[in-house]
């Protein structure tokens, strides 16, 4: 008789004190999820019903919102523009920030601590200060209505250098010293040892950067006034104002198409998503 019966204490007794947190958390989860439920429901609900019976379930499921939005708006162009921006910014920023983080964390060059101190100080400067002069600069460079205006300034960022440096601090120097003694150069060490080791942190940084670019609204609004260059966010805002009430499900179809890929992506990589926000270390 090798079977062991579970000890009595493993069977939790139902007490209100233990149940109450769960009830509150479930209520909270419903409130958090409720807008997404409306988003999905309205994207397949006839427009007339969205307006006149907002709380009723759809009397019929229709996908006309999805098909009509493609007919009235060049959704593929918007998606293409957003993807060009998000992918190029993510690749450039992840690579250049990783290089910078490696230099700050592992190469004791003279002036390193001063440069890093300066970097941290720049994080405290509010972005609004750069808004107008950067626009003037872009205008004079001829980069208004050019993707460069959004890609180049975002090609490397202090926050990402900071996150990656924190991760590199956990890699012992001896591991890199051994490679250096074997005659590997810094660039070789970076490519062959540091980059592969940094993979989890790089994923986090890449996700954060991609999401930031995909969701960016102010940048494209300022610099991409040509409708051929509009991103999904700008396209969505412009499209909304032009849709008559009866066809309002088209707007919901568009919102769903913009948001759902990120939500699915989030479900797959949620630990990296959360880490991007919660990984700041405190003394």
């Amino acid at each position: 008789m090798a079977t062991v019966s579970p000890p009595m204490s493993a069977r939790p007794r139902l007490k209100l004190g233990k149940l109450l947190p769960y009830i509150l958390l479930i209520l909270g989860a419903i409130v958090v999820f409720y807008p997404f439920f409306y988003m999905l429901m309205n994207s397949v609900k006839p427009g007339r019903e969205i307006l006149h019976s907002p709380n009723a379930l759809p009397s019929q499921i229709t996908f006309s919102g999805y098909t009509d939005v493609f007919a009235r708006l060049n959704v593929l162009l918007l998606l293409r523009n957003s993807l060009i921006l998000a992918i190029s910014i993510t690749l450039l920023n992840t690579l250049l920030s990783a290089l910078g983080a490696y230099a700050i964390a592992k190469i004791p060059f003279p002036g390193r601590d001063q440069i890093f101190g300066f970097m941290l100080a720049t994080m405290m400067i509010p972005g609004v200060l750069f808004l107008i002069p950067t626009y003037v600069l872009m205008y004079n460079l001829g980069w208004v209505n050019h993707f460069f205006a959004l890609i180049i300034p975002a090609a490397v960022s202090v926050y990402n250098i900071f996150l990656l440096r924190q991760f590199l601090d956990t890699i012992p120097d001896e591991q890199l010293e051994a490679a250096r003694l074997d005659g590997a150069s810094d660039i070789g060490i970076f490519w062959r040892i540091v980059l592969p080791l940094m993979k989890p942190a790089l994923t986090t940084v890449a996700i954060l950067t991609f999401m930031g670019s995909w969701n960016d609204f102010f940048g494209p609004l300022l610099y991409l006034t040509d409708p051929n260059l509009w991103t999904v966010q700008v396209g969505l805002l412009q499209f909304q104002s032009g849709v008559p009430g009866e066809n309002v499900q088209e707007v919901w179809a568009l919102i769903t198409m913009i948001t759902l890929p990120l939500v699915i992506f989030y479900f797959i990589m949620q630990d990296q998503f959360v880490a991007a926000f919660a990984n700041v270390k405190f003394k």
Partner: protein, 317 residues
């Protein structure tokens, strides 16, 4: 030491030999890849960070329109005087402070409450964290479309409230004076409280359980434990959230741009400083004045941040 609790970790200064002329040069040469690897950031920050900052100060002394650059007119401190006397600028500052007071209370309160609940349960914490974090991935335009629809006069929430008799008739809240800022604050806390939750939850887990045990032995009740252990131990996280939320929140733009005209509605009830700056720059095409407004807002942000640091320091002492 305890006074600078919220400081993110600074670089530990490497033990270095006292720099002598030739030695320094040799070390620079030996570690040259450090300079090469950090060069992209330095270059980009010089062009798109430092140069605009200098230009920003320069522009404040001129009336300047980028579409008619030849009309550049020196006005001295005229833009500053105008900014300090501009009732719309102060209205926008009032609006954003009103909004942030509500937003910060809500996100911190909801975040702390949720974190405490999650710490207390033994199963399913991960599922709840997953759900609470979803809104973080929505963009500001999607957020305002969702929030605007749900709260609109014909939307589901008011529909229920009217049927229950809580509201006599649907409210077109966008055109009222007092409602837009609180409602935007509620919509924004829906999006952001998940971030506060995970940061505060990590803080809760890092508190030494022995602190609670020994205080319980001395007969402290759970409210006393919360007041004298949980809150003080969480101060670094709370302070971090407070500072970061304020710096970001005072620069609100997309939320109001998506829902109102660029002057924030007929009574400027939703005018924020950055929206007003945008209107001055691209509607009035006055880059000099817009630049001055940016500096004024930055000064207000710096002032509030310093106040927060002071407050926390005194609190610790």
């Amino acid at each position: 030491m305890a006074t600078r609790t919220a400081d993110v970790r600074l670089a530990t200064p490497a033990p270095s030999a006292p720099p002598s002329g030739a030695g320094l040069w040799q070390r620079m040469l030996r570690y040259r890849w450090g300079y090469i690897f950090i060069a992209p950031w330095i270059l980009i920050y010089a062009v798109f960070g430092i140069y605009p900052l200098v230009l920003s100060f320069y522009l404040t002394f001129f009336n300047y329109s980028f579409v008619r650059p030849d009309d550049l007119a020196f006005v001295g401190i005229g833009n500053w005087v105008r900014g300090i006397q501009d009732p719309l600028f102060w209205q926008s500052t009032f609006n954003i402070l009103y909004n942030q007071a509500i937003f910060i209370t809500l996100t911190l309160g909801l975040g702390l409450g949720t974190a405490l609940l999650l710490k207390g349960i033994t199963r399913g914490g991960r599922i709840f964290r997953t759900i609470y974090f979803i809104p973080v991935v929505t963009s500001v335009i999607v957020l305002m479309t969702l929030g605007g629809y749900l709260t609109s006069a014909t939307g589901p929430i008011q529909n229920v409230l009217v049927r229950l008799g809580i509201l006599a008739e649907p409210i077109f809240w966008q055109s009222t004076f007092w409602l837009p800022m609180p409602i935007i604050a509620v919509i924004n806390s829906w999006k952001w409280f998940g971030v506060s939750t995970v940061i505060l939850l990590a803080g809760l887990y890092s508190i030494d359980p022995q602190l609670y045990e020994s205080a319980s032995l001395e007969g402290a009740n759970s409210w006393q434990l919360f007041r004298s252990i949980t809150i003080p131990q969480l101060m670094p996280q709370i302070f971090f959230l407070l500072v970061v939320d304020f710096i970001n929140g005072l620069q609100m733009f997309g939320e109001v741009y998506a829902m109102f005209d660029i002057y924030g509605g007929n009574q400027h009830q939703a005018l924020t400083p950055v929206l007003y700056l945008y209107a001055q720059a691209f509607d009035q095409s006055n880059m000099g004045y817009a630049s001055t407004l940016g500096l004024l807002l930055a000064a207000i942000i710096a002032f509030i941040t310093v106040l927060q640091f002071r407050f926390v320091q005194r609190d610790v002492e």
